[in-house]
């Protein structure tokens, strides 16, 4: 049970005062309601929110979204922005090992009724054609030279190979390739780990899910996205695979040394960091961007494979099935963005560790088609409950550096899930709800059981009620493939 003091700001906002720990440069602010707070207090996440407040250059507050849970160093569900021109730091731990882990949402023209008898075939075909599982390797194998192109061009590399369209790029955060990627900052080992993993889902909480919309929240927004009740959607959750893990490992090693070099005091070495403007900071940022671009290319390839499977199962072109990309968001990343802090425009390094960018209507980073609606914010839930499409708001830009939650957030440890949940009972429960699950590891299904997660509906209620995102529609799972 956490003893961290919390001051209530309002029903959805709580403050950890700076006075809690000497060394905190800003307070912590947690977005949650009383019910979620009970679970949040059960692990060490709040302590981690306070620890992040030690980072040099951090501005405003160490923020936590309602899906916050205990991570390693940073909490998962955390947002921290540092002022680059005032010695602000970048921390590989504030991004995580799975750099640009993220999620994309595709629509289809199908209604649930059209495909309900084919869901099993579809799930089995997806499972057979999409490489998933621990260390999974795909058919897309590239030379080191080609891999360098992926690291710079991101999704565009995939589109140039014929795995998608220009429109897909427009519907991807950073248009699928963040500028400033430095392939020279990526180690040989990282290249080696990345060469056979493009177009692979991976394992753990990564998944590909066929869903149906079961609730509409805003008619006008749903019309803008072309969404109706019962419509079938697809969600893909994956990241930068081994290449990203290696980049994080390489730079955590070098930044542990930076703590002494730059006289930085943080309570946990996994918060190792260096000033964004230092050689070490710049090198990490250049390498992190490569991994981020690799992840966007990966999800683009996964989407291409998904479209091909649908074409096979329904004997129709993906265009005819309306399989357009709605959007792709990163939820483990550091971004250089500008915000007004105390009346002055500042260039900030915004760490989103298990948090989604949520820019409001009119933001210049958004493509024309989303200028009116605000940025699509995609929130996957667990495999038994729901997922959401939200849009970002101006309020998020004012309060949370344009950020919202990223998922349901874990409640139970994997070991506790394995101890208390029976696989066959779980599969029966899911089947009775009409959900078909295929996974390469039996353990994965149990570890990722709905009981191991918070209720995503409660998490989304908080971000919606706090005004940092707006609900568009909710999906329920029909078929899930997992690693």
């Amino acid at each position: 049970m956490s003893e961290v003091p919390l001051e209530k700001i309002d029903d959805y906002r709580w403050r950890i005062p700076r006075s809690y720990k000497p060394g905190m440069r800003v307070p912590g602010i947690i977005y949650a309601d009383e019910k979620l707070l009970k679970d949040i207090r059960n692990d060490k996440a709040l302590e981690q929110v306070a620890n992040v407040a030690f980072l040099p250059g951090i501005v405003k507050a160490s923020l936590a979204m309602p899906d916050i849970h205990w991570g390693y160093g940073f909490c998962i569900g955390g947002v921290a922005a540092t002022d680059i021109d005032s010695g602000g730091v970048i921390s590989p731990g504030g991004v995580g090992f799975d750099i640009n882990c993220g999620v994309r949402l595709l629509k289809t023209n199908f209604q649930y009724e059209d495909i309900k008898d084919k869901i099993k075939d579809l799930v089995y075909a997806l499972f057979s054609d999409i490489p998933a599982g621990v260390g999974s390797k795909g058919d897309i194998r590239v030379s080191a030279k080609e891999e360098e192109k992926i690291l710079v061009k991101g999704s565009r590399w995939a589109v140039e190979k014929g795995y998608g369209t220009e429109e897909d790029l427009e519907c991807t955060e950073e248009y699928g390739a963040i500028e400033g990627a430095d392939p020279g900052a990526v180690s040989e080992r990282a290249y080696e780990r990345g060469k056979a993993q493009s177009g692979t889902l991976g394992s753990g909480n990564h998944f590909l899910e066929v869903q149906a919309i079961d609730q509409l929240y805003d008619r006008e927004l749903c019309d803008a996205f072309g969404f109706n009740l019962g419509q079938v959607t697809i969600m893909i959750h994956s990241g930068s695979r081994g290449l990203g893990y290696q980049v994080c490992d390489d730079y955590t090693r070098s930044m542990v040394r930076c703590l002494q070099k730059y006289n930085i005091n943080v309570p946990d070495r996994q918060l190792a960091c260096a000033p964004v403007n230092s050689d070490e900071g710049k090198a990490y940022l250049g390498a992190m961007k490569c991994a981020a671009n690799y992840a966007w290319a990966n999800r683009q390839c996964l989407m291409h494979l998904t479209r091909e499977v649908f074409e096979k199962v329904f004997a129709m072109s993906w265009q005819k099935m309306g399989m357009e990309l709605i959007y792709d968001v990163a939820h483990n990343i550091a971004k250089i963005e500008k915000y007004e802090i105390e009346g002055k425009e500042k260039k900030l390094c915004v760490h989103r560790k298990g948090a989604t960018r949520a820019f409001g209507p009119g933001h210049p980073a958004l493509p024309e088609r989303y200028k009116k609606t605000g940025q699509p914010v995609i929130i996957p839930g667990d495999m038994g409950r729901n997922s959401y499409l939200l849009v970002g708001t101006k309020k998020a830009e004012e309060e949370t550096f344009g950020s919202a939650c990223h998922g349901a957030g874990r409640l139970k440890s994997r070991t506790a899930a394995l101890r208390s949940i029976n696989l066959n009972t779980l599969l029966k429960e899911l089947e009775s709800k009409g959900i078909i699950v295929k996974a390469s590891g039996r353990g994965t299904i149990v570890e990722e059981a709905p009981q191991a997660y918070k209720d995503v509906n409660e998490v989304v209620d908080v971000v919606a009620n706090a005004g940092i995102s707006k609900r568009v529609c909710r999906m329920r799972p029909l078929g899930v493939i997992k690693g």
Binding site: G71, Y72, E192, S203, T415
Partner: protein, 149 residues
């Protein structure tokens, strides 16, 4: 939950799980520092994969050399180097022969088999510094480490 060591000394408890919401933590012991490093590595690969086929005699061996500023860094670097090599070379390691080990450097020969001989279990992305503990008591060692999974 307690796992049993599958190495040459049978049925000696050498690690147990510690609770963490999102990740996997273990507490591991060793009769000396070298044994601690070897047991931690062995535990890590037991979490990652389960043997599918009988043990092969065709092991591939790789030399590892690591440098660090202190013992804790060396411990984390050792585990992460093994994860990285395992992924890059597609090997699951099962034998860890540690030659030199002091507070700042390590030299070892590790041997493993092709990952195809194993059923993948849990992907470990990395060993982390979060709540890392390395303790000595009368020459015997204990470590606690949290893996990002």
């Amino acid at each position: 939950m307690v796992r049993l060591h599958r190495g040459p000394i049978l049925f000696v408890k050498n690690y147990e799980f510690i609770e963490h919401t999102a990740d996997i933590g273990i507490r591991v012991r060793g009769g000396n520092l070298k044994a601690l490093f070897a047991n931690a590595a062995s535990a890590m690969f037991e979490i990652i994969a389960e043997r599918r086929t009988p043990a092969s005699t065709a092991l591939k061996s790789i030399k590892i050399a690591q440098q660090a500023e202190n013992l804790e860094e060396l411990f984390i670097n050792w585990l992460n180097e093994l994860l990285s090599l395992s992924a890059a070379k597609n090997l699951i390691f099962s034998r860890f022969t540690i030659g030199v080990l002091d507070n700042k450097s390590l030299q070892a020969v590790v041997s493993g088999e092709d990952a195809a001989a194993f059923k993948p279990n849990t992907e470990i992305k990395a060993a982390t510094y979060h709540q890392l503990k390395l303790e000595e008591d009368n020459g015997k060692w204990m470590a606690e480490v949290i893996f990002d999974v």
